[in-house]
């Protein structure tokens, strides 16, 4: 490759390596970076530093959306707020009533588990984080939340919304964290059927309204409308939270596995606030499925 012969500032002598040489060097550098990043994850530090450096840009993009939220909040009129308030109070009342029942059930569950000699599930502590309005790669389901290591987040923590599991944290820097949604094609969630404890894996499809269960045989006991909850196996997600609801089952006799689709319980493409589960010292106990209980 010849160096730049003509240029706008017309230097008499070209300085430094030629253009082609520079490209070659940069390409080599990129190659080394990518291998280090992909294979060994050696670049955590560099990644964090860069992530902090780009945080202002993310903040800048998020700002108008925050402002719009704030505006619509402060400009909504009195009657709308009153109606809202009334509705929320009713909801709170109902939720409290359900909670009372839940605490009784939890106590009963703990007693039963005590009889079975398996320890009770430790209550999970949660932290509310807000999703920042930034689009990542359109082909991957990643989100950025506005809490980071400063708030005690670490990689691998689970994200929930009011309806179910949303995803898990993949990278943290001091001010923000990135998370992968359960609908990302590279994400698999260990689940079990709430009805009978059948364990399997729910894999993302790249569509926020669809998960697939590729590893269930044709004769598996599964029906439309079955609720899938996290099984807690793998140690990433706390056990017992809703993940998805089965929407379609096709049993093709020529295939050994059924084609099963499920719709995520969480509103993956609409949530604005998520709960980050901060678990205590304990690792979730593998739940005892009804079949196993029955055999004991």
């Amino acid at each position: 490759m010849s160096p730049i012969q003509t240029s706008d500032s017309k230097p008499l002598f070209t300085r430094g390596p030629s253009l082609g040489m520079r490209l070659l060097l940069l390409a080599l550098l990129s190659g080394v970076l990518m291998v280090l990043d992909n294979r060994e994850h050696h670049l955590e530090r560099t990644r964090q530093a860069l992530s902090v450096a780009v945080y202002p840009i993310r903040l800048l993009v998020d700002l108008p959306f925050q402002a719009a939220d704030w505006l619509s909040g402060s400009l909504s009129d009195r009657s709308a707020l009153q109606i809202d308030n009334k509705r929320l109070k009713e909801r709170q009342l109902i939720a409290n009533a359900q909670l009372q029942r839940l605490s009784a059930l939890e106590a009963e569950n703990a007693r039963l588990r005590g009889l079975l000699d398996s320890s009770a599930k430790v209550a999970d502590r949660v932290l509310v984080a807000e999703i920042m309005a930034v689009d990542m790669d359109p082909y991957r389901h990643n989100i950025v939340v506005n809490k980071g290591t400063n708030d005690g987040l670490v990689s691998g923590q689970a994200l929930l919304d009011a309806q179910g599991i949303v995803g898990q944290i993949t990278e943290v820097d001091p001010f923000s964290a990135q998370a992968i949604l359960i609908s990302d094609p590279n994400h698999a969630t260990p689940v079990e059927l709430n009805r009978n404890g059948l364990r399997t894996i729910a894999v993302g499809t790249g569509d926020t309204t669809k998960l697939i269960l590729p590893f269930l045989q044709n004769n598996a006991d599964i029906e439309n409308g079955d609720l899938l909850v996290s099984s807690g196996l793998g140690g990433k997600f706390p056990a017992g939270y809703p993940v998805a609801i089965v929407t379609s089952i096709q049993r093709d006799l020529g295939e050994s596995f059924a084609t099963i689709e499920a719709e995520p319980a969480a509103a993956l493409n609409r949530v604005r606030e998520v709960l980050v589960v901060r678990r205590g010292a304990s690792v979730p106990q593998p739940t005892v499925s009804p079949e196993e209980e029955a055999t004991q």
Partner: protein, 158 residues
């Protein structure tokens, strides 16, 4: 490259890059997201065509690296693609600059296609599968916004 005339350019360069970064991650509806032009690559192409000595291919690489961090892609992926695009932009700038608009759009779309191909290739090697047809939508969208980018930046430079 420290020439006198780099002073006013630097501010505008940084500003345009920040705007491009913002446009690259601003939320869009899912169906429209597929047609999001490669804003950063387009701005880099523009600057390398008009100021090849001051901006340079190294700056293009660095901008690509920051884009990697911003999109949380594999570190080095966009950097490599951006360096290659920068190389093409510098090599063919004399010809491209005097082209009529539609020919400029054509050559820019070829550069963006190269950019997208490198991203696609690296995604493939690192185990992410993304349909190539979706990438073509980006190339077309980028070519369509090129005249506006070049017009706006040229006006701002005066």
């Amino acid at each position: 490259m420290t020439s006198r005339e780099s002073e006013p350019v630097l501010g505008l360069f940084v500003f345009s890059i920040i705007v491009a970064f913002s446009l690259a991650i601003v939320p869009m509806p899912e169906w429209l997201g597929r047609f999001r032009p490669d804003w950063v690559a387009l701005v880099i192409i523009y600057w390398l065509m008009v100021r090849p000595r001051q901006v340079g291919i190294g700056a293009a690489w660095l901008v690509g690296l920051i884009l990697d961090a911003l999109k949380s892609a594999l570190l080095g992926q966009h950097a490599l693609a951006m360096a290659v695009v920068g190389f093409l932009a510098i090599r063919f700038r004399l010809r491209t600059r005097v082209f009529p608009v539609w020919q400029q759009m054509l050559s820019v779309s070829l550069m963006i296609a190269m950019y997208q191909f490198i991203l696609y290739w690296i995604d493939g090697v690192s185990g992410q599968e993304i349909p190539l047809t979706d990438r073509l939508a980006t190339v077309a969208a980028s070519a369509l916004v090129w005249p506006f980018i070049s017009l706006i930046l040229s006006t701002l430079r005066r």
